[in-house]
Structure formats: C-alpha cells, structure tokens
Amino acid sequence: MRQFLLFLSVILVGIIFTVRLFYLQVYNSDADSILNDNAIRKVYDYPKRGFVYDRNGKLLVANQPSYDVMVIPREVEPLDTLEFCRLLKIDKERFDKQLKKAKHYSWRLPSPFVSHLSKEDYAILQEKMRKFTGFHIQKRSLRQYETTIGANVLGDIGEVNNKDIKNDPYYKMGDLMGKQGVEKSYDSILRGRKGIKFIQKDRFNRNIGPYKEGKLDTIPEQGKDIKITIDSELQAYGEWLMQNKRGGIIAIEPSTGEILAMIAAPTYNPNDLVGRKRSKNYTKLYNDSIAKPLFNRSLQGVYSPGSPFKLMNALIALQENVVTTNEKIACKNGYNYGNRHMGCHCGSGLRDMSLGIQKSCNAYFATVYRRILDKPKNAREGIQLWSNHAKSFGLGNFLNNDLAVGQKGRIPDKAYYKRAYPERFYSTYTISNAIGQGEVLTTPIQLANMIAAIANRGFYYTPHIVKAIEGETLPENFTKPKYTTIDKKHFEPVIDGMLQVYKKGTANSLQIEGLDICGKTGTVENFMKIDSVKTQLTDHSIFVAFAPKDNPKIALAVFVENGYFGSRFAGKIASLMIEKYVNKTITRKDLEKWLLTHSLENEYAKPYSGEPFQINRGSQYQVIPMEDVIDLPKETNIKL
C-alpha cells in the first residue's frame, strides 16, 4: 500500500489543479473583450463636430480650438514658477493645488493643469513652453457660436454623466454630448463617430506600441452638418422684442411645419456655456428658479390657452353641425347656466360666428360648447367627441417632433372626467373649456401648430427644427401632412372671424397695411401660491395669428407671462414678427420702441416683494429709457 501514497497524491493534485484552472479560466473567466482589457489603452480620435446653419445657410454654430495645459508630474523639473503663473494667469496657490491634484491622479499620466486657454494666452505661452519641462499643451475642440441668439434652440454640449454612459455605451467618460436643444436632439448626427486606437501598455501604464500593429484601429467618421429651420433674423428680432419679458414665441411655416423661430424668454448668450466658464454659468442659470432661463417656455410652458381655444370650439361646432355661421346668439353680458353666471367683456348683443370670434364673446362659445357636448345621447359621449376633434390638431399629446424637450399639455376626455365626476356629468360642469380656461392646457408650440392647421385649412405638418442633414433625407414624419377631423369648408368662416379680429376687433390697432392677418387674442387668468395663499396675478397675454390669409407664410403663437390682455404685449409682438418675416422691414418703429421700453420686470417682482399688490387694470407700466435697451443681436463672429 505504501507505494500508492505518492501516486495518489500526484493524481489528486492534478485533479485539483484542473478544477482550479476550470474555475479561473472558464467558470469565472474575465476573458476580456479588447474593449474591457485593461492591458490595452484605448485612445479615441474625436471627429469634427458638424456645423449648424440656419434656414438661409447662415452659419450659427462652428468649432473652435481650445488649448489645455497638461502636466506629467514625474517629468516636471524645477521651473520659474513666478513666470509660469503669470503666463497662465493663475496664482501660486492654484499652481500648487493643480500640481497636487495631478500627482494624486497619476505621476506618469498627463492630467489637465489649466483648461481652455484663450488663443492669445496660448500664443504667448507656446513660445515659452520649452522652458517648462513636464508641461505640454493639448489641443481640443470646443463649440463656437457665431451668434448670441438662439441659446434655447441650439443648446450646448457638455461632458457625459454616468447615466448617459449607461444609456449609450458609445460614450466614454470625458466625452462630450449634446445637453440641450439641437445639440441634444441631433447629437448622433453632429458628433460623427470617434475613431479608436488600441495601444498595448505595460504595468506602469506606459505605452509600448500599437496593439496587433493597429489592425483593429478605426478611423473617425466626421460629424455631419445640419441646416435648421430657424430664420436667424426672425429669431434675433423676437428675442430682442422679448427682452425684460417672460414667455415664449413659436413661429411655424404652415406649408412645411418648419419652425421659423422658437423664442424663450428670458434667454442667455449661448457662448456663456462654452469652455472654461461653462460650469460656473450653467450653475448660475440652473439655480435661477424664478426667471428659469433654462426652461424653454415655448416648448415646456404649459398654460391655459384662453380665447384662442375658442377657434377650436367654433370648428368643432361647425363640423358637428350644431350651429350655422349665420345663427345669432344673444350675449347678456355673459352666460347664465343653472344658477351660475359666466361674465363676458364683449359688450352684449347678438353674435354670429364671425362677430363671436371678433369680439371674443364668452356667451357665444359657452352656448356652442354646450351644444357640442349635448349632441350625443349624453355629455360623456359628447366630451369624448369634442376631445377627439381637438386632439386631431396635435393638442394634448407630444407632437412627436425633433425637439429635445416638450410637454403633453392636456385635452380632457371621457376617462378624465370619469375620474373627476364618477357619478353625474353634465355639459355645464366643464363650461370653462369653452373659453380655454378650464381643464384644457397647451404649450405655445401646440397652439402655434393649431394655428398652422387652421391656416392650412385642415392639416398640419409635424413642427420640426431640422431642415436638412448632410447626405440624408428627412423622415416621412416631417414631410407627410396630418389631417384633422374638421372638413376643409368649415375653416373659412373661422378664418374670416380671425381676419375681423384685425379689421375691427380686439387687435384692430395692430394692422399692417396691405397684409391680411388672421389672429386671435387671449387673456388668461393665472394664480400663484404666495405663502400658501392662492393669489391671482396679472393675466397672461396671448396672441395667435397667421398671415397672409391666403397662402399663409407664417403661423405663430406668442405668450407673454403677466402681460395682461392679449393685444397689449403678445398682439404687438405677433404683429411685428409677421411684418418682419413677410415684409422684411418694420414700418411701425413706434410700436417697436413701445415694446422695447416697456418692461414687465416689476410685474414679475410683485409676488416676491412680500407686499400686497394690484393686478391687471391696477398695475402700472414699467418704462425703461431707450438707452437701457439692448441692441438688436447681430451676427457676432466672436472669436473667443
């Protein structure tokens, strides 16, 4: 038996080793794909990011070189710190801090010492760089905005975060991606495809040479240029008019669905979010929770649509045949239903459809709205019918467009009111919807799209921001018309009513000679909680319009927060925007001046003043001297 001890030991050890090998190499293997192999350094070669042009081919966003001073701590030799700090415009304290940080990261690998040098500083530094062993300059590419406008449209790029990396493994730590606006929605087109080089490294993290002679390396694919639908002049003009006001403007070309202007006020200079100052400025913008400059009011602002929604009710009523265009409905300074009363400012009298729209008669639309709801066997079916029509205009849902942000808004339906009124439901319950003040909520872009559909007499194209992509065709979603449930013939009477708004109605002071504009004012009550007391603020000023009446070129929705009645601010802006776009020149300089010198900042300060305040009729204009008005943004071509 004795001779077996060693025999068996050898066999046993052989078996144990095999099991262990199996465990290490097969069961628990991290047989690495080359991308996870930490013996291989992946060096990315970033392609040029695509340029952004406006609809007329004007360059809006380009790239600029940026220079970072990098340091490899172990190669640093004693140097003239004083001179070096002076060249970099930093103090000794910062110098020590940065060097310590770099050493902490790695002694052998380069880490950024000072990022985003200006071109001038770089030029001076470059000549003296050889004196500072261990430091070198690394060139990077940053965005260069050729304009100061359109921050909310163009967006910005920033470093990816962990969530982005998880969502799309294409991104690696330190990569840049679009964070807002077009940069975000067209990121994958603009960025191109980065190239990758595989480099064998040793255990000290030093490069030894290309892995497999570079056979697996890829070359970068350049980012594609895009042309956006924005008319930069119109955009600049709108932003200029909106200074000292809050709100949004959306202008759409009805025949294509192209967004001509998308203004959110207040805004900021897109160059503020480039390079060295990005994080500081971004934090400042992000933390402004009152003015919310990063909040795109034209896309994300959910408001009651107010009177412009009456147009929708008129269209539905005609489609459902519950009223004729000639039928006259009496307004008795309002509308009485049950024992309740809804006021009206139209001055009472008999209203047909055209007059109802022109005078924005609440009683007329309350009557019509009730007829729609009461047409089927009960009001629940009625509300569903009404809801379906309204939704066919793209209201109450995301428009499925190519914008980075958006809101659904709300068009209530049968199910919605089933939750609100489980027991009984009558048409009178929701009478506020007749004048766009009830449960109905829309965003400015939805409202503009509704006007575009009216301008087109029954169809719209999904509003979109992209006009052309280098070497690609646009998706069908943007080129195929979407039809509403309203027949074409019903639009003319409504459009006629809108024309009368300018000719004789609430906006007759805003006519443009030789141009038939169709519009509708809106004045929307709004409330805010101040110290948990629901307080009414000055009404929002709303205006929707399209022009010219035949073959319309522009449809727009203007929204000015707390601007009081519709024609006071929004109507004026809409009128000027239309003139600017259709006629290219502004004849009414006085109107323009009035808008520029009238600020709403005092209105916005009221809820935070801590004192009681007056609204609407009781509020005063804040007039600012013309010297304080910011000039019309021009092409800047600033080189940072």
């Binding site: 052989g14 080793f17 262990r20 290490l24 628990n28 192999d37 013996a39 255990r203």
Partner: protein
C-alpha cells in the same frame, strides 16, 4: 549485440515528456520575455536566447550523463554529495546575492545556483544510504542519520534565504515512507499541518476544543484503555504547538511572509483591508490570477497575451511562467501542461517501482517526489491555492542552473533505469 541496442533501453516516454515540457516552456519564455521584434533566437542578451542555449547545452549534458557507466552514480554518490555540500558552503564566501537570496556563484557573466544541483546529489546520497544492506529504516538510529543527510543541504539553503528550495527537501518524506518509514510519522506530520492551519485560522481556543474532541474521542473509543495521562499529555503538546504557531505567525515571521499567509487563509476579518492587502502584498498573485483568467477556454494565442506583452506579471519568465501558458493557451493549454507533468511524474514513479535495485528505486522515487513538490508548489502558488513561495516550475521557468539541475536529476535515473536488467 549488447552495444548496438543499448540506447534503445532508455525509457523514451520519459525523454519525450521531458522535451515536450522543455520545448513548450521555451515558447512561453519567448513570449514572456521578448520585447519588440525577435532578431536572434540565440541572443545572449535576451532571456529566450539564453534559455535556448541552455537547452542545447543540456542535450550535451544528457549525452554525457548517459554515456557514464550506471554504477558510477552509486559508487560515487557520497563524493557527489559532499562536493555538493561544499559548493553550498562556498556560497557563504563567494556567493552573489540576487533578490535577497545568496544562492549564486558568479562565473564571469554566468551565474550558477548550486542548490539546483544539490537536489540530485542528496537524492543519490539518500538512495545510497537507504539501499545499504545494513540500513534498517525502521530503526530510529538510522532514521536520524538519513534525516541528517537530508537536513544538512536543506539547512544550508535556508541560511541563504531561499525558503522555497528548502521546502523541496520535504519530498524525501514520500521516499522514506515508501521505503518503510513507520506510519506514525505520516500521522504526526498530517496532524501537525492540520493543527497549524487550524490554529492560524480559528485561533488557539477553538483549535484546542477541536483537538480535545478528537483526542478524547479516540481515547474512549479504544477498547484497551491506557493511562489517562496519555490524552492529557497529547493535548498539552498540541496546546504548546498551537501557541508556537501563533507566536511564529504574529512575531517571528518577516512581514512579507506573514502577509502571504494572511492572504492565503483570509485571516484578515475586514474585507476591505484584506482587499487592500491583496493589492499591495499580493500584487503578483493578483496579476497572475488575472492573467490566467484572461485566457478563457482557448487563450489569446501564442505571443498574443496582452498581459504578457504588457509585462503585468512580474517575474513572469521565471516563477510565474505558468501565467503565460494560462493567458495565451487558455484552459486547454494549461490543462495539457498539468497533464504532461502528471504523466511524467507518474511515469518516473512507475519506472522506479520496476527497479530491481533498491538504489535505483529510491533514487527514481526521489526524482518523482522532487518534481512533484516543485509542480505542486509552483502551480498551486500561481493559482492562489497555496501561499506565495518562490520556486521554479521544472523545465518551464527560465534559468540554466534549474534546467541543468532537473536534467541531471532525471537523466541519471534514465541511465539507472536503462541498466535495470543488467546485473550490478
């Protein structure tokens, strides 16, 4: 006639397995040590070049060994043994230190490590003494003498701070056991190892508790009860040993050795601290396991191992050569190496059992056992199964002395074996 078919009596299986390992070993040294393009396979400045030269020279050595008469090795075993001891002693005067161990002679650019040759010499001496007609291994007197023969070279090597090579002399236990060493040594040996591990892992109190259960359980199950003192004394001895083990671990062991044991048995309770320790003290082990793991089923291919190319595993061409096999040849290649080693050892042991002469048998058995210990410790260490002990993988690891030491060790036996049917 005797002349013509003489060399056909060599065991070609052993020789084939031997060269398979040496050849495959060289390929892995080539992969682990080359930097940049390979210009000259016989380059004197590159490890792979030198190793190829060593292999070629070992063929000369083999021819020499096989042409010497078999009886020479038995007759001159004492002389060889004493010469070997002398070469070890000489190190204290003329030795050269590499990596903290004073185990080398510097022969004008070449270094020679006498401990690699001492194994064969000791094996010859043990074989000679055990096979002596007057030796009875069951007698304590003879056991002591053999023990001295084995311990002198082991002790000299230990003094040169080469703990790994010292451990190899444990191989002779298998040989002596085969030749009739009483079972009690095996039992005591196993118990001691168990006791030491237990004391380290669970502490003295739990160890004593377990020992008490075993000792009294054994005592009461015996039909013929001896004095009650016996289990008590046993326990006291166990207690002393446990304390000694703990004391050695806590205070006597140098830090690096202590850390190796700590990591091996996961003695550090704080998982984060243990992880930290692994990163620092067991960097080699961590990298070596990673490299083996990275191989997967089929490996990355010859000269394609990224961790090998990047030299992530220190000492990869010597003690950690098996990681190259793991990374580049994967499970299939690694398993093949393990298999060939097992086959070679089993072949040698099998041949040893066939020897008529006790001298040849004991010597052959020693060869198998020595190879086995190297195989066990080296691959076990590289895969994290046993604590880190610096010891080469026979025929694989870079080094001329090592290769020639094993060549001499194995081919003396091949010669002895070829002579087994001749009368002595």
């Amino acid at each position: 006639m005797r002349q013509t078919d003489r060399h056909f009596k060599f065991d070609w299986i052993t020789i084939m397995l031997f060269f398979m390992l040496a050849g495959f070993g060289w390929l892995n040294i080539l992969s682990a040590s080359h930097t940049g393009e390979i210009i000259d396979y016989l380059s004197f400045t590159e490890f792979y070049g030198k190793q190829l030269i060593f292999i070629i020279l070992s063929v000369v050595l083999i021819i020499l060994i096989l042409s010497i008469d078999a009886k020479f090795y038995e007759r001159f075993s004492s002389v060889i043994y004493f010469a070997s001891l002398l070469s070890l002693v000489g190190l204290f005067v003329f030795g050269k230190s590499i990596n903290g161990a004073t185990s080398w002679y510097d022969l004008g650019g070449m270094t020679l490590q006498p401990s690699e040759f001492a194994k064969a010499a000791t094996a010859l001496a043990v074989a000679k003494y055990v096979s002596d007609l007057q030796t009875d291994i069951r007698q304590f007197k003879h056991q002591i003498r053999i023990f001295i023969i084995i311990v002198i070279p082991a002790f000299l090597i230990l003094l040169q701070k080469d703990a790994g090579s010292t451990l190899v002399y444990g191989a002779f236990f298998f040989v002596l056991y085969r030749e009739g060493l009483p079972k009690i040594y095996l039992i005591i040996g196993s118990l001691l190892i168990g006791l030491a591990i237990c004391a380290l892992k669970f502490g003295v109190i739990i160890t004593m508790f377990i020992s008490a259960i075993i000792v009294f359980g054994y005592y009461f199950s015996k039909k013929k009860k001896s004095s009650f003192l016996q289990p008590i004394i046993t326990l006291v001895i166990a207690l002393i040993i446990s304390f000694l083990v703990r004391f050695t671990y806590d205070t006597l062991l140098p830090f690096h050795q202590k850390d190796r044991i700590t990591i091996w048995l996961s003695l550090e309770k704080d998982a984060a601290k243990l992880e930290q320790m692994k990163k620092k003290a067991a960097y080699n082990l961590l990298e070596s396991e990673k490299a083996i793991s990275a191989g997967g089923w089929k490996g990355k291919g010859f000269m394609e191992g990224t961790r090998t190319t990047g030299k992530f595993v220190p000492e990869q061409h010597t003690d950690y050569i098996f990681t190259t096999v793991g990374e580049e040849w994967g499970f299939i290649g690694s398993f093949a190496v393990v298999l060939v080693f097992v086959l070679l050892i089993l072949r040698i042991l099998h041949l040893a059992e066939l020897q008529k002469s006790q001298f040849s048998r004991v010597y052959g058995y020693s060869v198998g056992a020595i190879l086995f210990i190297h195989f066990l410790i080296n691959i076990g260490m590289v895969m994290g199964l046993i604590p880190t002990i610096g010891i080469p993988l026979p025929l694989f690891s870079y080094g001329g002395s090592g290769l020639w030491g094993f060549t001499i060790l194995v081919f003396i036996f091949v010669k002895l074996d070829s002579n087994r049917i001749n009368e002595w």
